[in-house]
């Protein structure tokens, strides 16, 4: 049986009167790479901080590796890695000093050689102070610090924000390398859906603090579909198909965004509705995400109109 490494129960957080995380019920099984996605301000960072016990929830609870997030014992903390948004590291320390400092938190499993090899691979001088590193170099140090203790659970808050393609790829490689080891789990938030698609086998989508999806990446990819139906006359007024998320009309066409129904079901409905023909469009993950999190009656920012 697969163990649950991260679990939240009705986890809720208000900032004043603003609801940031709304009754989040999340379960992440051991051994996956989970892409944590949501639009800006959806509550990802708040949720991560709640999970790590860095913020107090207004209501609800969460557990990491079986231990309540608000009372994480040092023995549990040692098994968890956390990469902050923006890779905030002590600026006055050198890479060497930072390593010693960080190693003290993970006395049992810190891998000196692994850390040294990564720093060498990145071609970073160990005596250089963090404040003299570029953003990309700081991110590389942060990645080495995150992987050196061989964490059972690695949580990264938008680790590739603002990084170039090569350094972003190094982060993806790091995640794959970690997950190959027995029983490791990664949760990372990102806005780069291409990265999420590449390395994740699980996806969690939150929108306005609410959990919208928590499933395997393949399920999500297969579930969200766009269908274009054309009619000889005006399309039917009632669109009573299962899983309808958005419906956009034009004079003789319907564009539907559906979550869940199989292609055969769609074909049947298309026949029943009197469509002249229909096309099920294969969407990429980014388009799926945009549609999935779009508000109802969502229109494009700029809509082409025939003059």
């Amino acid at each position: 049986m697969t163990e649950t490494v991260l679990q939240t129960q009705a986890l809720t957080k208000y900032y004043g009167s603003t609801l940031a995380v709304d009754h989040l019920n999340l379960k992440i099984p051991q051994g996956c790479i989970c892409g944590f996605v949501g639009r800006n301000g959806a509550g990802k960072t708040t949720a991560i901080k709640l999970m790590l016990g860095l913020l107090k929830p207004t209501a609800g609870s969460s557990r990491l590796l079986g231990c309540d997030s608000q009372q994480l014992l040092p023995a549990i903390r040692q098994r968890i890695g956390y990469v902050t948004e923006g890779h905030r590291l002590f600026r006055w320390m050198s890479i060497n000093e930072l390593q010693k400092f960080q190693r003290a938190f993970f006395p049992k499993q810190w891998d000196d050689k692994f850390f040294a090899d990564m720093i060498e691979y990145f071609n970073l001088p160990k005596k250089r102070k963090i404040k003299h590193l570029s953003n990309g170099e700081r991110a590389q140090v942060s990645l080495a610090l995150a992987l050196a203790p061989n964490p059972e659970l690695l949580i990264m808050d938008d680790p590739t924000l603002g990084l170039d393609a090569a350094i972003r790829r190094q982060f993806l490689e790091g995640m794959i390398e970690l997950i190959m080891r027995q029983g490791r789990t990664v949760l990372f938030s990102s806005h780069i859906l291409g990265d999420v698609e590449r390395v994740s086998d699980r996806i969690v989508v939150i929108d306005k603090g609410v959990l919208r999806a928590n499933c395997s990446l393949e399920e999500f990819r297969a579930a969200v579909k766009k269908v274009i139906l054309s009619f000889t006359d005006s399309p039917p007024a009632d669109v009573d198909i299962e899983g309808l998320l958005h419906c956009r009309r034009s004079e003789k066409e319907l564009e539907l965004i559906l979550v869940g129904p199989a292609d055969e079901q769609i074909t049947q409905w298309a026949k029943k509705s009197g469509a002249q023909n229909h096309q099920i469009v294969k969407m990429n993950l980014e388009d799926q995400f945009i549609e999935f999190t779009a508000p109802p009656n969502h229109r494009r920012l700029f809509q082409w109109e025939e003059k």
Binding site: R169, E173, I176, M180, R198, S200, D201, E218, V281, L285
Partner: protein, 136 residues
């Protein structure tokens, strides 16, 4: 072998389908012959920087298509073409795909004979490789 597999994230096609398609193309071109061993799941995942489950899923898909067989504890191998079964559904899908190409060709103003010549030329590229491989 991993190097020629190109992953394009952001495509409408899931990554496991991309991997499976490129390997099945290599088998069709005899770049991978019967009995050749596919890289271990974790090795390929590491080289392509994709999730190991995605690679495993691609291999399962190839196995379902009868193109490879997995020997427990040993690895995944390209299967013997004589033992592959092509079922009617697969052939149907193939026929439909050909329709798409024919439509495009005709819309480009190509004549029947042009299409046949093009088809033969392309086919030759695959078959020639197969013979070269056998003579190696």
């Amino acid at each position: 072998m991993a190097l020629w597999i190109q992953i394009s994230s952001g495509s409408g096609e899931p990554i496991y389908v991309q991997v499976a398609q490129q390997i099945s193309e290599a088998i069709a071109k005899s770049e991978l012959a019967s009995g050749d061993k596919l890289p271990a799941v974790r090795k390929l995942a590491s080289e392509l920087v994709i999730n190991p489950n995605t690679v495993a899923r691609a291999y399962t898909r190839l196995e379902q298509a009868g193109l490879v067989t997995t020997k427990t504890g040993s690895g995944t191998y390209v299967s013997d073409p004589k033992l592959r079964k092509s079922d009617a559904a697969d052939i149907n899908i193939l026929t439909e795909r050909m329709d798409t190409l024919i439509t495009r060709g005709l819309n480009l103003g190509l004549r029947e004979q042009d299409l046949i010549t093009m088809f033969k030329d392309r086919l030759a590229k695959f078959v020639n490789r197969q013979t070269e491989r056998k003579n190696d």
